[in-house]
Amino acid sequence: MSTSLPATGPEAAAQLDEPTREALAELLLAMADDEFVIGFWDSEWTGIAPLLEEDVAFSSLAQDEIGHAQVLYQLLAELRDADPDRIAFGRGAQEYRHARLLDHPRTDWAFSIARRFLYDTADAVRLDLLAASSYAPLAGVVAKMRREETYHLLHATAWVERLAGGGEEPRRRLQDALERLWPDALCVLAPLEGDRRLVEAGVLAEPLADGEQRWLTGLAPLLERLGLPFPFRRAGARLEPAVERPASPRGDHSASFEWLWGEFTSVYRSDPEAAW
């Protein structure tokens, strides 16, 4: 997996103090696992999407996301002096640190679209917080990822509009999916143990909690215009959730994820020492 990747930042990694390095590792693992897992869920639509165009789109989205994960695992491996393949494939299912939003199976089309929309918009905020990162290797990768994500955002937004205005059943399915997913969507920008440390070190522009507010403020006009679920109350300038974020935003993974993990690690687990 790591063979074709740019040499990114062993020198930069060596210059970080230990608490910052730990905090950065936690953030990179969360981001990489998010991209990796959504990529594998996306790939499940290959061949069975409702339109041929969407077979192509979801396969391409999957390839983008797994490619992003690959580079993020590489950055993490340089930080920890570890093997990126082992990080990507060599952990038990409950050791993954993706957000609970990505624990759900692909379910129906509206559900997959709703999840992509919530994830893509939250991820856009996270990338924005890293665009001017003091950790140069990450800033470089993020600059590249953000440009690719403009296509993901176009796709997700167009489909949300299409399903919302697409008659009774598509609209109902989209609404149900959003209602079901909102609590878990709040896991993507949930605070990490070290995110304040990362702000102090200039790695992250502001704490994830502030990013979450920008995300919600940015989404409100579209969802309100389309009359779609947006379970938040205005409290001054802040938006307070009317739903509860799970206690363990990046752990306690579902049986569905354990099944997916079994699939995507099966080749690696068949011979962990093999040189591919």
Partner: protein, 168 residues
């Protein structure tokens, strides 16, 4: 040229101009704007490549092909890929754009510059002009295509599908 001739940067660029992109082989890696830097010194050559897409599966093939081509020029060859600056589709040369059109691809639109809005999407208008008949009356059928770097369009004038190299 004698065996003792000092290898120049120009010879390296000329050699690189012979290395095709494996996914769109009419274009060289130079026309694609992938070559960031060439360093030549004392029997060694070092080249920095900018990956076009983060997950591009062709990168390793390109790197190997570049290395093999340059090994004919120098005993020590180093080919590194880097994200130190982002490759953008604006790096495709005018010659590269002409070749794209000739192969049935619309070249990427110029990128909008300045601060990227939070939920930035690519602009859908104006749509890419048809590489076959030149008509601007086209429709984006799919933001995604057969490889990471392409979108699919339909020309309403000459009624043909075509692809555009993504604007990134």
């Amino acid at each position: 040229m004698s065996g003792q001739a000092v290898l120049g940067e120009r010879a390296v660029w000329e050699a690189l101009a012979e290395v095709p992109d494996p996914e769109i082989p009419t274009l060289s890696v130079v026309e694609l704007g992938m070559v960031r830097r060439v360093e030549v010194g004392d029997g060694r050559v070092r080249v920095e490549l900018l990956p076009t897409f983060v997950g591009c599966p062709a990168l390793e093939v390109i790197r190997r092909t570049v290395a093999e081509r340059l090994e004919r020029l120098a005993p020590v060859v180093e080919v590194d890929a880097t994200f130190a600056e982002p490759w953008t589709s604006d790096r495709i040369t005018p010659e590269g754009r002409r070749k794209l059109r000739e192969s049935g691809f619309a070249p990427p639109a110029p990128r909008t510059t300045g601060e990227q809005p939070l939920f930035a999407t690519i602009p859908v208008r104006p749509a890419a002009a048809c590489p076959y008949c030149g008509s601007p009356d086209t429709t984006m059928e799919n933001a995604f295509g057969p490889t990471l770097c392409r979108s699919i369009f339909w020309c309403n004038a000459c009624r043909q599908p075509f692809e555009q190299f993504k604007t990134v």
